[in-house]
Amino acid sequence: MRRVVSALASPQLLALLGVLLINWFLFPPFFRITWQDGRLFGSLIDVLNRGAPVAILAIGMAGVIATKGVDLSVGAIMAVAGAVAATMVVAGYPAPVAVVAALAVGLVCGLWNGFLVAVLDIQPIIATLVLMVAGRGIAQLITEGFIVTFTDPLLIFIGTGSFLGLPMAAVIALVLMIVVTLIIRRTALGLFIEAVGVNRAAASLAGIRSRMLLFLVYGLSGFCAAVAGIIVAGDIRGADANNAGLWLELDAILAVVIGGTSLLGGRFSVPLAVVGAIIIQAMNTGILVSGFPPEFNLIVKAGLIFIVLVIQSPLATRLVPVRLPKAEARK
């Protein structure tokens, strides 16, 4: 019980509450939720729906960053996965086959990154840059340069449907978050991942199979990117190799950092990364509903990164001694 209470008092959830309250102040009907045609409507639901792709990317990205890595290729993988799913249903394959194929392609892309990082020992930022540069080209190759539109009901349902009144994208993100959190926190896997992030050589000496863990986290990141790619394709009923997931890798990294995961590796939280994604989306929505031009989004995001950086920096810890022994012990 105490753990639940202290988790609810985390700075991320307080920040989310703050952003939501500002939104409510700027746009009084913000919290109004209506029930229509068997699903919920309202700004809050919209935040969950629009935030889902970044939240899903953040789930995979959190693991990668915990190993002191970063995955720049997720946006490109989204485009590739969307292109695969769309071209396959257009070619007449049943939708479940197309979805499985797209997920498999995402996984393969992730494992490729894992291979470069774990086996060839290349810096993650550069290893994933290869696919970030080439990925959109590959996606265009698959779609032959067109925006492939489809009418398949299952794919459209994944992007825009609803389950128990909630948008399907949000439900998928929630399920993925719970499954991944249970797998890494109910087993020692999360601890091993953090150990690799703190010191890979030491972790290997301690008997942790760091190479396999790196394959696992990059594979998961690719898989999550494919899920997000299918959702985005289903949402616009087409695969757009140029714009699907464009710059979302940066939002995903930001979400993970807001979620308290250290960019230096060794400490991560999947649920808080998802909260980070929702904070970003709540701010985007807030700027939209309050009538500011959407260009302010980028500036607000930059300001947010800066604040998070200052708070996380060693300088701030030196100036303001942290009294919580727990927070100190974690470092």
Binding site: D121, R136, Q140, P293
Partner: protein, 322 residues
């Protein structure tokens, strides 16, 4: 041959082979006209890549350069076309703003001890957002100064035109190479990229060098923005999206080690030329679609990263570099 020159030689050999193959297929590619256009078309990328070389040599990375190009283009277009400034005054202001911008990023990287990657990411959001706040439209620049510069070309036999901006890029590369290899600042940058702790113990002014590197990168990005504005005669907030990736690719393909401390400015020049060659080849071919550019660049990037790995694994037996 010295071991340390191998990546540079490898890049040069691959460029020579690729160019020879391209010329074999399209003899027209071997002409001063194509060469001149080559330099003009890649001028802004080349100038950005010089700054990126310094950043990567120091062990960092700068994701904000594309956004700085976009911001500079919009700023000078607004100052010239809407506020009636003289282009030179607008250029000076843009360069000063970029210097301050890069300096602040350098300060944040050094004093907050955060990865350069995330600080320059925030910088990228800020510059791109700032450009979009100034205007969302493309603003044309019509000024006699612009027409004067665009007519400032050296004509050579064979229909070749060496434009002002193409020659400016070459000048920046020469100056960059001199600064990197012949000045104290240059050796500080290499020392910093090799090992920050050792560099600091040896008396390298780490803070000053870090700030200087990011200032240099931003100023050169702003200069690239000016060149881009001369090239397109317009300012557009979404101009040069993704140029940071091309610049990083050019630096890596040019043989600079991504962990810092090792590389040559000349290598970056060959890297830029190789990227330009891929693009020109695809235009000459006509049947290949433009997205092949990205795939080929991705492939080249992979090739060179693996090549560097192999060379450096061979030169330091029994030891992993990180």
């Amino acid at each position: 041959m010295s071991r340390s020159l191998r990546p540079l030689v490898a890049t040069a050999v691959i460029f020579a082979i690729a160019y020879a193959l391209a010329v074999f297929q399209f003899p027209n590619m071997f002409s001063t006209r194509v060469l001149g256009n080559f330099l003009t078309d890649n001028a802004f990328l080349g100038i950005t890549a010089v700054g990126m070389t310094f950043v990567i040599l120091s062990g960092g990375i700068d994701l904000s350069v594309g956004a700085v190009i976009g911001f500079t283009g919009v700023l000078i277009a607004v100052l010239i076309s809407l506020a009636g400034w003289h282009p030179l005054a607008a250029f000076a202001l843009a360069l000063a703003i970029a210097a301050a911008f890069g300096g602040i990023m350098g300060l944040a990287i050094h004093y907050l001890q955060v990865p350069a990657f995330i600080v320059t990411l925030a910088g990228m959001f800020l510059a791109r957002g700032g450009a979009s706040v100034i205007t969302r439209d493309s603003i044309p620049v019509n000024h006699e100064f612009y027409t004067w510069i665009s007519e400032l070309t050296i004509r050579v036999p064979g229909g070749g035109r060496f434009s002002f901006i193409g020659l400016l890029m070459i000048a920046i590369f020469i100056i960059g190479a001199l600064v990197a290899h012949r000045t104290k600042f240059g050796s500080y940058v290499y020392a910093l990229g090799g090992n920050e702790t050792s560099a600091s113990l040896m008396g390298v002014p780490v803070a000053r060098t870090t700030v200087g590197v990011y200032m240099l990168s931003s100023v050169l990005a702003a200069l690239a923005g000016i060149v881009f504005s001369l090239y397109t005669s317009a300012g557009y907030p979404l101009a040069a999206v993704g140029v940071e990736l091309d610049a990083i690719s050019a630096v890596v393909i040019g043989g600079t080690l991504l962990t810092g401390g090792y590389g040559f400015v000349l290598g970056t020049f060959i890297g830029v030329m190789l990227l330009g060659l891929v693009q020109t080849y695809i235009i000459f071919d006509g049947t290949l679609s433009s997205w092949w550019t990205k795939i080929v660049i991705g492939g080249l990037l992979f090739l060179f990263i693996v090549l560097q790995r192999l060379i450096f694994a061979a030169s330091t037996p029994g030891e992993k570099s990180h």
